[in-house]
């Protein structure tokens, strides 16, 4: 451990000395340490981001972090490791009611105090930093510019800040802070067009290890709670509604009719949009309640829920997008066919 730390310190010092002179940092596959390549140039912003992506998936680490939005702080913990060649991640809230989840081998299990535990089949990683860690940064160039802001210190680690600047006003911009040693993400600021931080995730403690946490391996070998099957969509799968406008980079990845299992099994037409970083859900349903105001908007951090009434139809747009985008998406919804 001591030798390891010493080595890290030397590498870090060497990096600090050499990086401004035009050298590159790369993650060495075997030692998982940063090595200096004499002949290369300084990594560009996108290269740092890609290093971060790789580390996020292959490293064994444990982070304690705070999620901060609207003056509310929520401390959380994530333990990530590779168990039998597959990613395993354990997540929990540190305050209040016990809420935990375990994701491994295409399944995610949820545990909450006072509720039956259950499992959902899911290949999606939705845990902290997963959005930026799974983003296709090359493809993302059409929507964002990547700029190195500078170096700083987060969670006691030397880190580099990279800004992802949106090219238009239809999405948020981000500042990603990566650990210079492990390349893991340490901080993520979600920023609106007025440069106000609407949401922030800040790591307070990062612990990277050679092997995965034995407790994590133990969890993955135990029996999971019962798998819950989500009700199927209707036989006529496609929604009868379509968007006539999409912001750059967004595409429709799901389009169906299903029922809201959590609310009186109410039938809705549903469209799911994706731009690699955020997802937007659009719900088209029967108008249930007359609102005083013609439009309603709910916002929590970066997440917005925008409601529009059009005759007897209600359109709801949910996602981590600016209000103007949600509004324009709702307006763009048009009926395609009418079978009823």
């Amino acid at each position: 451990m001591n030798r390891h730390s010493l080595f890290s310190t030397i590498v870090a010092s060497v990096l600090l000395l050499l990086t401004p002179l035009g050298n590159a940092i790369e993650v060495d596959g075997n030692s998982k340490e940063l090595v200096v390549k004499e002949e290369s140039t300084i990594p560009s912003a996108i290269e740092y981001l890609q290093l971060m992506q790789k580390s996020y998936q292959i490293e064994n680490y444990e982070i304690l972090y705070l999620s901060s939005l609207q003056k509310q702080l929520e401390p959380m913990q994530l333990i990530h490791g590779i168990v039998d060649g597959e990613e395993a991640s354990y997540f929990r809230y540190l305050n209040g009611v016990i809420r935990e989840s375990l994701q491994y081998a295409g399944k995610i299990s949820y545990f909450e105090q006072g509720r039956p535990a259950y499992t959902i089949e899911s290949g999606q990683n939705r845990s902290v930093f997963a959005n930026i860690a799974n983003f296709d940064y090359v493809k993302g160039k059409q929507s964002y510019d990547y700029v190195i802001l500078g170096k700083g210190r987060i969670a006691g680690k030397q880190s580099i800040a990279i800004r992802m600047i949106s090219k238009d006003d239809y999405r948020y911009s981000y500042v990603v802070w990566c650990d210079l040693q492990s390349a893991l993400p340490l901080r993520l600021d979600t920023i609106n067009k007025s440069n106000v931080v609407v949401e922030q995730i800040m790591v307070m403690s990062l612990n990277v290890s050679e092997s995965s946490n034995p407790w994590l391996a133990k969890l993955t070998t135990n029996a999971l709670p019962e798998t819950v099957h989500i009700p199927e969509s209707t036989t006529d799968n496609s929604s009868q509604w379509k968007t006539t406008w999409l912001p750059t980079g967004f595409s429709v990845i799901k389009d169906d009719q299903h029922r809201l299992v959590m609310h009186e099994n109410e039938p809705v037409s549903y469209i799911l949009l994706d731009d690699g970083i955020v997802n937007v859900s659009i719900y088209i349903s029967e108008k249930k309640l007359t609102l005083e105001e013609p439009q309603k908007l709910i916002r929590r951090g970066a997440t917005v829920l925008y409601t529009e009434h059009r005759g007897e139809v209600e359109i709801n747009v949910v996602g981590d997008i600016p209000v103007a985008t949600a509004q324009r998406l709702a307006e763009s919804i048009k009926l395609v066919t009418d079978d009823h």
Partner: protein, 175 residues
């Protein structure tokens, strides 16, 4: 537990922890058990306890044990007998299964709306910010919805919450 916590926190604070003590912490099964006793996940997976902490029956049993006071009319018996085959309960449990998917994913519980001033940022649209449970919202904020009954407002909150949770669920089960 306190000692282990101290060790863990020193582990986090200081990377120069002796590898021996680290190994001891990792391999000591007893310490691990103590640690994981505080984790529901461990309990569930070892099938030690049911995660569904339904203490109502225990409470009822406890009450039944108590010497009855002459001034108190016993009503517990009927309540207990009806509980087991009540369809509403099982429905609520089922309902809860989906509800928590979102709660773990970090979705909001909306209790109150506050109206903010229209600004340039939100294009002049009235903004209703949600405040989760425990947030300090003054009752005055309800005036923002004057003209609507509390029931109607409650219905809307529930529906919006369902939409947010369905959004999370759709993301998680996406192929």
């Amino acid at each position: 537990m306190t000692e282990i916590n101290e060790q863990l926190s020193s582990l986090i604070d200081n990377e120069n922890v002796e590898s021996k003590s680290l190994d001891a912490l990792i391999h000591d099964k007893e310490q691990q058990d103590v640690f994981s006793r505080y984790h529901l996940i461990g309990d569930v997976m070892r099938n030690e306890t049911a995660l569904n902490i339904d203490i109502s029956e225990l409470v009822m049993a406890e009450i039944a044990q108590q010497p009855s006071l002459a001034t108190v009319t016993p009503i517990t018996a009927t309540v207990v007998s009806e509980k087991s085959d009540n369809n509403v309960v099982s429905f609520m449990k089922r309902f809860g299964q989906y509800a928590i998917a979102a709660s773990v994913a970090g979705v909001v519980v909306m209790t109150s709306f506050i109206t903010s001033q229209p600004t340039l940022e939100n294009n002049g649209i009235e903004v209703l910010n949600t405040v989760p449970f425990g947030g300090g919202v003054s009752p005055v904020s309800l005036q923002a919805n004057k003209g609507q009954s509390k029931q109607a407002l409650q219905d809307r909150h529930e529906r919006l919450e369902a939409l947010l949770k369905d959004h999370q669920l759709q993301l998680q089960v996406q192929p």
